[in-house]
Amino acid sequence: MNPHRRSIFVKTMTFLVYSFLYLPIFVLIIYSFNSSKTNILFEGVISKFGDLQIVDGNVLQSPCGPFHWFCELAKNKEVRSAAGNTLEIAFISTISSTIIGTLAALALSRYNFKLKPFSEMSLYIPIVIPEIVMGIGILTFFSQVFNYLNSLIGLQGDARLGLGLFTVIVSHIAFSVPFVVLVVRARLQGMDQSYEEAAMDLGANELTTFFRVTLPMLLPGVLSGGLMAFTLSLDDFVITFFTNGPGSTTLPIYVFGLLRKIITPQVNALSTIWIMVVFTVVLLLQWLQNRESSHK
């Protein structure tokens, strides 16, 4: 039998898999250009630029043309603040978890210490336990600690410590670190220890060795670990849902809130932008990994 022959079955399956994966996304993107306000029926693309003209709930003409919902979105203060929060959380948690994760990966693969088996286990548990369990756990932890601190210092009213940006950032760091460790460790395992030994042999102490040899050689791993942490933070819903507070609403939380009211094509426009951002990050990640493998 010719191994290159593509059977009808394989073709059908391939078509179905890709349809399930990408058709919803495709439809979602198309709907962000919908002229209907309701997002139930597709009533055509807003084709004309000009002053806003609405007939029977259908947008016929807009200053932004087909990008009407994107413009509406840009005017939406809540969306802007949620996007700002999301990015702030993503940046701070990515940088922190990348540093912590890289150091942890180094400790686990280059040093021996008493609690190593325990540290290894405990690092990987957040990857396997359900996110909702972790969310509840973190929420319980924060409320206990804040209650204790509030009564200890005697804080009153608005001065009381509570959930907010800080708690979201801390929880995002907590669930990103294991992923960074995983990626960086894989890179470290493939990196012969003799490079570090050579550096020390040539007179570099541990710190110089780290910055001049280990880190530069590890950089592709560290960067892909960081990008992973970034995408994880960007679209996290469950844990953020438990740990956010007033003023720290993120985009996923905001969208979820919208869904319970009216779904306007604004949500689609938002999702479209979002998909583009994540898609770019994933492409960047791929490119980094390809470059790394072609360098070996």
């Binding site: 030994e197 550096a199 020390m200 042999d201 040539l202 007179g203 570099a204 050689m217």
Partner: protein, 369 residues
């Protein structure tokens, strides 16, 4: 200056096995390496040669005993405080740095002024015949060139001892032979003590001033190549270095120079050199190198001469390698083909009978283990 470049005094290195037990990778080793010497640590994998080298470099610390470099006890000094440099088996060139940056790295760590660095790096690259390659990256170089860069990177620091961990292992045979000679002449040129780890006996014999043969964490024999090959002090060394025949027997007569042993498989006695360490009635092995046995039409000696049947012979150009049998003893004999003829009988082809003579000075009597 101290008498010895490196000295290991009763050094033990224990490692924990995965099963939780302890194993001595290096087991009470004493070793004295002279200044300016090309010294090889030879043994099969797991014999402790690399661990010994790593203890000199400071990558491992002895469990017991002390490593001295230039007379100074090293204790638990880290590698960056020791006056030694290492050439790694994998070369360990920094992939993200150019050749120049690689070689300059060690000098930068010493805070040598940049003008001098450029000068010294240039000289080091010239020494390994790679001038003009300084802007390349290691990946753009061949295996042999990378090897030279690794050498230059270590030598540019002018260490008192250069440690080499099987540096030629990754090269192909022809290049390896070239590099052996080059390394040897380089060592003479710079006059730095080289400690060279290898599992390749031919490599060790070619390059070394002295060789230490190691097995199971212990040093069995230390000596110049000739001594190691011609006067192995035990069965393991005789077996490990080169090829040899072992005749197992029991001592029946002994004087200062000679030992007579009864060899049951030969159904006869064999006279060999007394190398010390054996007594009357001891079980012994007599080691005879295959190239030192003479095959003749008639006996040349009144003793140590055995009628043999040629079982097989392989003509390999310079030599003919024969498998012969006398009584129940199998013997390997290598005859040099020093006359040129097309007559197959000259090469003992086919089933022929002949006499094998072993001169007593070519038969080393060693204790059976």
């Amino acid at each position: 200056m101290s008498d010895f470049a490196v000295e290991l005094r009763d050094v033990v290195k224990s490692f924990q096995t995965p099963e939780g037990g302890w194993i001595n990778a290096v087991d009470h080793v004493d070793m004295k390496i002279n200044n300016g010497e090309f010294f090889s640590l030879l043994g099969s994998s797991g014999c402790g040669k690399t661990t010994s080298l790593r203890m000199m470099a400071g990558f491992e610390w002895p469990t017991e005993g002390e490593v001295f470099i230039a007379g100074q006890p090293q204790g638990k000094k880290p590698p960056f405080q020791r006056p030694v440099n290492t050439v790694f088996q994998s070369y360990a060139l920094f992939q993200h740095m150019t050749v120049h940056q690689n070689v300059a790295f060690g000098l930068e760590m010493e805070k040598v002024p940049s003008k001098q660095i450029t000068e010294r790096v240039g000289k080091a690259l010239e020494m390994v015949k790679l001038s003009g390659m300084d802007k390349r990256y290691p990946k753009q170089l061949s295996g042999g060139q990378q090897q030279r860069i690794a050498l230059a990177r270590a030598l540019v620091k002018l260490p008192s001892v250069l440690l080499l961990d099987e540096p030629l292992g990754a090269l192909d045979l022809k290049l390896r032979k070239e590099m052996q000679l080059e390394l040897k002449s380089l060592q003479r040129e710079v006059g730095i003590t080289f400690v060279f780890v290898t599992h390749d006996q031919e490599e060790a014999l070619t390059m070394s001033d002295r060789i230490a043969v190691m097995s199971h964490g212990k040093v069995l024999q230390v000596g110049p190549p000739i001594e190691i090959y011609e006067r192995p002090n035990c069965k393991f060394v005789a077996d490990f270095i080169g090829d040899t025949n072992f005749f197992e027997g029991v001592v029946t007569g002994i004087d200062d120079k000679k030992v007579t042993a009864h060899i049951p498989l030969l159904n006869s006695t064999l006279v060999g050199m007394n190398t010390g360490g054996v007594r009357l009635n001891d079980k012994v092995v007599i080691s005879v190198r295959p190239e030192k046995i003479r095959l003749t039409e008639t006996c040349v000696l009144t003793y140590n001469c055995f009628e043999v049947n040629v079982k097989s012979s392989a003509y390999i150009g310079s030599d003919t390698r024969l498998e012969v049998e006398s009584e129940r003893q199998r013997i390997k004999i290598w005859e040099q083909n020093h006359i040129s003829t097309l007559d197959p009988r000259a090469y003992h082809q086919g089933e022929v009978k002949a006499f094998a003579t072993i001169l007593p000075e070519n038969a080393l009597v060693l204790p059976a283990e």
